[in-house]
């Protein structure tokens, strides 16, 4: 309330700031939740090398989430820091993609989820490296190198499993319908993103959607996997904080310690 009142004289700039904060939460929350899901594999991955890889990808994402959420906290300037945003917000205040909050399932689901996310993530970050905002540009230029590597790994896994054994192919076939409907959010945009793009702050949502579609088509083709028809909108929306039932449970575990023991330190 206070923030909106103090913004009144410069409403245009303030509105853009509100849009940017929303967008930073989307980026940060998606990276954080995807990272948290990867952490669930700790001690349970199919092989030691895979465990190291899953944890390292998760670590990159949590680090990126911190960079985005720190910036969001600075812009909001309401006394909350990045930790507060991560550990004290409820499900409805989270703005992550529906895709990343989905349970890990078997290794095929985990790999496919990572691939869908990476293909979107890389296109988003490449757009941000041309942002007119130097802070966005700086964080993205760092993350884009890490995510190029993530996508290389996850797309190779999709090919290896899709074009692998009869068992691995069947597992991938079963994973696609479990995740596909959530990909609708990877190829659409809303007014917030369109305004930010018009202001030169983020990449073109249509180009991001096209890049995602091309990457998925290419990888599915070499993985001998059938490409479903584009996903349709349904009643949930991560952008608006309308999540599937899985996010609340994830947050309950992730946020337990700081909520049960406020201000605990190492």
């Amino acid at each position: 309330m206070q923030a909106s009142m103090s913004c009144r004289p410069k409403w245009g700039i303030c509105k853009m700031n509100q849009d940017l904060i929303q967008y930073l939460l989307r980026l940060g929350d998606s990276a954080l939740i995807q990272g948290q899901r990867l952490c669930e594999w700790c001690g349970r991955a199919p092989a030691l090398e895979e465990e190291l890889a899953l944890m390292n990808v998760g670590l990159d994402l949590v680090g990126q989430a911190r960079n985005w959420l720190e910036y969001a906290a600075e812009l909001a300037n309401d006394g909350r820091d990045a930790d507060h945003l991560a550990f004290r917000r409820d499900e409805r205040a989270y703005r992550n993609l529906l895709l990343v909050e989905q349970p890990n399932g078997d290794f095929a689901v985990t790999v496919l989820k990572q691939f869908f996310y990476d293909a979107w993530h890389l296109a988003v970050l490449e757009g941000l490296t041309h942002s007119s905002d130097s802070r966005l540009q700086g964080i993205a230029a760092k993350a884009v190198k890490e995510v190029t590597y993530h996508l290389r790994r996850s797309s190779e896994w999709v090919e290896r499993l899709g074009d692998g054994t009869e068992e691995s192919h069947q597992r991938m076939l079963a994973a696609i319908p479990q995740l596909w409907r959530f990909t609708v959010e990877l190829s659409d945009s809303d007014a917030v993103e369109q305004r930010l793009h018009a202001a030169g702050l983020i990449g073109d949502p249509q180009q991001i959607a096209a890049a995602w579609q091309q990457q998925v088509e290419r990888t599915f083709d070499s993985a001998t996997l059938p490409l479903p028809a584009p996903a349709c909108h349904f009643y949930l929306s991560g952008r608006q904080g309308l999540h599937s039932e899985h996010l609340g449970l994830l947050l309950a575990e992730m946020q337990f310690l700081p909520r049960a023991y406020p201000d605990a330190t190492w």
Binding site: E49, N56, G63, Q64, K142, K145, E146
Partner: protein, 177 residues
């Protein structure tokens, strides 16, 4: 007086002065990376700049990877080493841009990585090298070019795991990024 001022005076070290930038670089040249303890933070390119600002040393550092868990440890080590050498309350600034690249690892740093058993990054960082199109990684033990990738991530995010097909030793490769 700032909190760090007392620490430096308690140590009895000579207080550093604005002309001591070379000494500061030497001190930081002895601060080793906690994950790869043979390479200093200067050789890794983590320390970007040193300057005097209002009577204190200003240190610009950059993290290697966004999620590198050693970032805080490295910053604490840098602060400690400088205070021990008489630099009172050094001011650390974390800078993300330009993004850290393995191109900043010095030639001495690369030699030390190799001697420690970690294959240094091949060539310079670009999109092709990120996609793995950067030639063969030689075994740091026997020098053979006959090696294979075991996993794209090794013991830390900055390394990949390889195996030598001749001497059979597994080894870390410091990825080009």
């Amino acid at each position: 007086m700032q909190p760090g001022d007392l620490i430096a005076s308690d140590l009895g070290a000579r207080a550093a002065a604005p002309g001591d930038l070379d000494q500061a670089w030497q001190v930081l040249g002895r601060v080793m990376d906690p994950e790869v303890p043979v390479v200093s933070v200067v050789e890794l390119g983590i320390v970007r700049a040193l300057a005097w600002d209002a009577g204190h040393l200003h240190v610009v550092v950059t993290p290697t990877y966004s999620g590198c868990p050693a970032t805080e440890v490295i910053e604490a080590d840098i602060r400690q080493a400088l205070e021990d050498a008489g630099f009172r309350a050094p001011q650390l600034e974390r800078q993300l841009h330009p993004a850290w690249t393995t191109d900043w690892i010095t030639s001495t740093g690369r030699e030390r990585l190799l001697a420690y058993g970690i294959a240094p990054p091949l060539g310079s960082a670009n999109k092709r090298s990120l996609l793995g199109d950067n030639g063969s990684v030689n075994c740091p033990q026997c020098g053979s070019a006959h090696t294979e990738l075991l996993s794209q991530f090794g013991s830390t995010a900055c390394k990949a795991l390889y195996r030598c097909c001749d001497c059979r030793e597994p080894f870390d490769y410091f990825k080009c990024i």
